[in-house]
Symmetry: C2
Subunit: 186 residues, 2 copies
Amino acid sequence: MNIDQIIDNIYCIPETSRLLLKENINEVRLPKGYLLFKADKVETAVYFIKRGIARAYTYQNDNEITFWFGKEGDTIISMKSYVENKKGYENVDLLEECDLYELKTTNLQKLFDKDIHIANWGRKFAEKELIKTEERLISRQFQTASKRYKQLLTDNPDLLQRVQLSHLASYLGITQVSLSRIRAEK
Amino acid sequence: MNIDQIIDNIYCIPETSRLLLKENINEVRLPKGYLLFKADKVETAVYFIKRGIARAYTYQNDNEITFWFGKEGDTIISMKSYVENKKGYENVDLLEECDLYELKTTNLQKLFDKDIHIANWGRKFAEKELIKTEERLISRQFQTASKRYKQLLTDNPDLLQRVQLSHLASYLGITQVSLSRIRAEK
DNA sequence: ATTCTTTTTTAACATTTGTAAAATTATTAA
DNA sequence: TTAATAATTTTACAAATGTTAAAAAAGAAT
């Protein structure tokens, strides 16, 4: 998934604005297992995933809890860092070798004040992330773990091949034992 | 909480832009129990709460599940309607008589394309809502119902006086019986 | 104040989910 | 291939939460 597709997918902007944005984006290749974000740091960049898969997790009395997976086309971002310039809760590690598009947030902020199309692009970005986050919240509040697991399978059939079940279990908010029980059910 | 405070609290914009925004906002008083949003409708306005308290809920096999409370300074919005022009999941009713500032989304969209300050204000609005939604998700995934109840008490001590426990229980994702047990604990 | 209605708590029991440890299966490296 | 390691499932039991129904408490209406 290339950078033009990713930009347009968020919100279509005129060619000149897109070029302005792309001037501030550069591509990086990082190895599997690479720790991209650390929970105790203010992150200074956002990343768009060209290829690969990543995971965000945090610690809850000594055990890792995975709360996000991102793959091709998704954005790796620490919202707390991006919006409030504060430390986030997320550690992000790469579950595969990844090609990422890197964009420094300070540069992006400058573009927001200069170009109305990019400002609206940034607005659309936040709005779309918001919808995704809200859907995760709703699904978590309204659906049983079992239903959410099945939903995940239909929405992201590849995920099961790409991430291990212990991560998936904590993502679903249940133990690995419970997930095994759910998988054994049918 | 007046409209200038509410606007500035989201993001400070120049006087001229604020006036432009305020031209499109009008105040309404609505009675307790009023059903402001319906789940099967595309909502065409957003509301800022000047005074009062509201609740968003949805149905999950015949029982109501409350998933949001809003009070003075908060925004009543159907994100699905606002962002994607689709039906949302929320019914919103007013738990007290409310004074609301109403803003039609079509008018707001026009301002976004015309005024870069308002575009950035809209961006900040989405970003701040995103942070709030993310925090709710994180709290829901990482904390027990008991801890979330106690957190709610410290964050919003007035909430307990203003909403009934059955709503609070479903908001916390537990039954009313469980909530009673939690409250009885200490 | 008294009745009626609604809200909240309590109780008993069923179901779900968690914990810890062992068994199985899959993956990696020599 | 084989041993070593890591991931997943299974088991048995414990703890937490749900269900249903009844009791108690609080609030509203006459």
